[in-house]
Symmetry: D3
Subunit: 166 residues, 6 copies
C-alpha cells in the first residue's frame, strides 16, 4: 500500500480529524499526520501541545506517525517519500480554497497528488474555531472532541461571564 | 402567533436589518432582537451603544424587545421561550456559514428552529463593514442606514485625508 | 399562530419532506402542503397519486391539509390567506435557485414571505431523483422513504437487468 | 498498494479522463475503469463503443482494467474488492453534486471510500458535452481528445451548415 | 472606441437584456447582438422571430446591429473584427459556467476577450424560462419584458387551466 | 477607444496582474492602474514601493499610467473621466464579493461600469498572500512574479528556520 501525509494545524484535534485519520489508516500503509506550525500565526495551543495531543490520540493506530513541521508541506512529503497528500473536505467548507492549495502544491512538486476525502456528515460543523467559541460560552463540546482535548480546552479557555442588560 | 429571536452584532444597525425586523414583526407575536456581544472581539460601537441605537430604531414596533446578550444564543431563546431563530440571508452572502451555524445551534437545542429570511434586493450590498469603509472615505451612506446611525458613524469614524501622488 | 404553505412536486414524498413537515407543524397553526402540478412536465407519479400519498402520510398531524394546485403558488397562498411560504434548503442544494424563486414570488405578491428551513443532516442526500435511480438499480431505499412510498416505487419502477461485459 | 475503481460514462473519453487515469495508475496497484451505462439515458456512443475506446486508450497501462457496468457502482467495487472509488473534480464543476453522490454511496456501503482527485488545470474546460458541441460546429478538438476519439466524433456528429441571415 | 459582440439565444429578449445592451452601447463604438441558434435545440420562438424582435427593440440605438448565427461565436467575432465578447452575469447565476465558456472560447481564439458585465439588481430574476412559466400560469410579466415581447408571449403560450382538487 | 481604470492593492504586483494589464492595454486607449492605499490596513510593501514597482513593470506599455489613491475608487474614475472599471476575476475566487463591490460602486456613480475580465488559467493560484507565504517558507516563486518583485520579496521577508521535532 501507499504512504500518505495528512497536514493540518489541529488547534486542537477534533473527532472529525480522528474519523478521517481512522479511515485513512485503512487505505494507506503508513500515514504521517503533520502538525503544521507557522511562526507568524497565533494558536490556542502551542506546537508542542498540538503534537502531543495528536500523538496520544493516534497511539491506537500502529501505522500512524505524528510530526511537527514548520516548512513547506511538499518538503515533508518528499522527505518521507509519500506521494499522496490527504485533505478532508466538508460539504460546507470552502472547496475553492482547497482546490487552489492543491494547484499550488502541484506547482511545487508535480509528483505529489492531493486527494480530497469527504468529511463524515456527523462532523460537518466541527470547525476548531467554533468549538473554542462554544467552550468560551460554556457550551457542551463532549460529542465534538475527545475527552483529553475537552479537558485541555477547559484549562486554556475561561468561560465568559453571564450578562443580560436588555 | 409565535415568539422569535433575531440575533446579530448590529455594529451598527442598517436599513437592511430594519427591513428584516419590520417584515418579521408581521409574522411573529413577539420579536426579540438580540444584540450579541463577544468580549474577545472588537467593535466600532460599544455593546451599550448598539443596544441603544437598536432600541431607538425599533421603538415604532410594539411587539419588538431589544436585549444585550453575551452567552450562547440558544440560551437566550430558551430563556424567553422562543422556538424560532431568524437569520437574514443575502443572495451574495456565504450561505454555507449560515447553514453550518444553524446545524451547530440545532445540536445545542434541537427544539429551536433556525429559519432564513431572504434579504430584500435593495439591501444586498449593505454589509456593516462596507458602510463603515464608505464613511471613512467620505462617501454618502444616507440610503443605507437610518439618520441616527449615520450621525453616530460620522462621530466615530474620521474620514481619510485626500492623497494623490500618482 | 400563523398559517403557512409548503409547496413541492413530491414525486414521491421522502423522509426529508416529512421531517420538514413535522417540524413546521410545531411552528404554524395550519400548514397547507401544496402538491404542485405542471401539465408541461412529466412525473413518475400522477398528480392524484402524489396527492393521495401525501394525504396518507400527513394524516397524523391534525393541522396539516394537502392540496393539489396547478397555478401560481402565490395564488394558493392568497386563497388560503397564508402569509408564509416554507422552502426546505439542503446544505448541498442550489441555494441560488431558491433565492431567485423567492424574489420572483416577492415580485408577484410582496405580502407573502418565503422562509427557508434547513434540511436535517440525516436527509441531505434524499433527492427524489436519486431515490428513484436507486430503486431502478435494486438498491435499498427503506431508510429514505416511508414504507408506503417504497412499495409504490417498487410497483412503478422495474429494476435494470444485471450486466457485466467487462 | 490499493485497488481502486474509477466510474464514469465516458461519452466519449477525453484527455482529462486519461490524465486522471494516468495519475491514478501510479497510486493504485490495480485500477478498474468502469464504463457506467444507464439504459434510461441516451448517449452519443453506445456502451460497447465507449468500452472499446476506453480499452484501447488505457492499453498502455498494465494495471488498468476496463469494465462495462449497468448496476450500482458500489456493487462493482464490492465484486472486485476495491475499497476506493475515485472521482475527478474540476475547479469549475459542481462539487456539491459530487459530495452528495459520495454520501449516497457511503450510505450504501460504508466500507468504500470516495476520494476526489483535482483535475489538472489544462483540462478544466473539457466537458464531454462541450466537446461534442464544438465538433458539431466544426471546431478543432485535437487538443481535447485522443485522435481515435476525434475520428469517432467526426463520424458520429455531422457539422451544422453555415448560416448568416443578419 | 471598440467593437463588441453580445451573443445569446434571446428566447425571448427581456428587459434585462435590453438594460445590458443599452449600457454596452455607451462603451463600444459598435455592438453586434448575435442571436445564436442551435438546430439541435428547441426554442419557444423561431430564429427569425427572435431576430425580428431583437431588431425592433434595438432600433433606437444607431450603433447596434442584430445578426442570426448558427456557428461558433468566435467565428462571428472574427468575421466582424470585434475583439470583445460581452456576457451579462447575474449575482444568482452559475458563474462557473460562464467562466468555463470564456476559457473554451479563449482556447479557440486567444485574441478575443470575454468580459462579464454584472446584471442590474432590478433584473436579477429575469430568466427567460421563468418568464415563460409565469405567462403559462397567467402571471403578470409587464415589468419583465417589453410590451411587444409580452404580446408575442401571450400569442405563443396558452395559460394552464384552473384546477384545485385538494 | 475607451479610458479604463484598474484598481488593486498590488502588494506586490504578480504575473497575473501584468497579464491582465497587458490584455487591457489592447482594449482601451488609456489604462489607469490605481494603487489603492487604505491607511487602516497593513501592507508588506509601502504605498510608495507598490507605486514604484508597478510603474517600473508597466513602463513598456505607453498607454498605461500608474497612480496612488487613498479615497473612493469611483472618485478617481470621475477625475480622469474613465467610464470603465476593470476587475480581474479568478475561477476560484469569491465572485460574490466582486459582484457586491460592483453594486456598491454602481450605487455611488451609476455612470461607471464595472467589467470583469477572467484571469488566465496559468495564474489561477497567484494570490499575493500565498506568494508571500511561499517566500517565507523558502519556496520558488520565479514563475509567479517578475524578477524585480521576487528580489523585493526576498529583501522584505526572512525565511522561516528549519524545524522537525516529530
Amino acid at each position: 500500500m501507499l504512504r500518505a501525509i495528512m497536514p493540518g494545524s489541529f488547534d486542537p484535534p477534533t473527532n472529525g480529524h480522528l474519523n478521517l485519520i481512522e479511515r485513512a489508516t485503512r487505505l494507506f500503509s503508513r500515514l504521517y499526520v503533520v502538525v503544521a506550525h507557522n511562526s507568524q500565526k497565533s494558536y490556542t495551543f502551542s506546537a508542542e501541545e498540538r503534537l502531543e495531543m495528536m500523538a496520544d490520540l493516534t497511539a491506537p493506530w500502529p501505522n500512524v506517525e505524528v510530526h511537527l513541521w514548520e516548512r513547506m508541506i511538499v518538503e515533508f512529503a518528499q522527505q518521507v517519500d509519500a506521494p499522496v497528500m490527504i485533505r478532508g473536505v466538508r460539504a460546507l467548507s470552502d472547496f475553492s480554497y482547497e482546490f487552489e492549495l492543491s494547484m499550488l502544491n502541484k506547482g511545487l512538486d508535480s509528483a505529489i497528488e492531493t486527494i480530497f476525502m469527504p468529511t463524515d456528515a456527523r462532523y460537518f460543523v466541527l470547525r476548531s474555531s467554533a468549538i473554542k467559541e462554544l467552550v468560551r460560552l460554556g457550551g457542551d463540546v463532549s460529542t465534538m472532541v475527545p475527552s483529553l482535548v475537552e479537558r485541555a480546552l477547559r484549562n486554556k479557555i475561561r468561560p465568559a461571564a453571564e450578562v443580560d442588560k436588555g
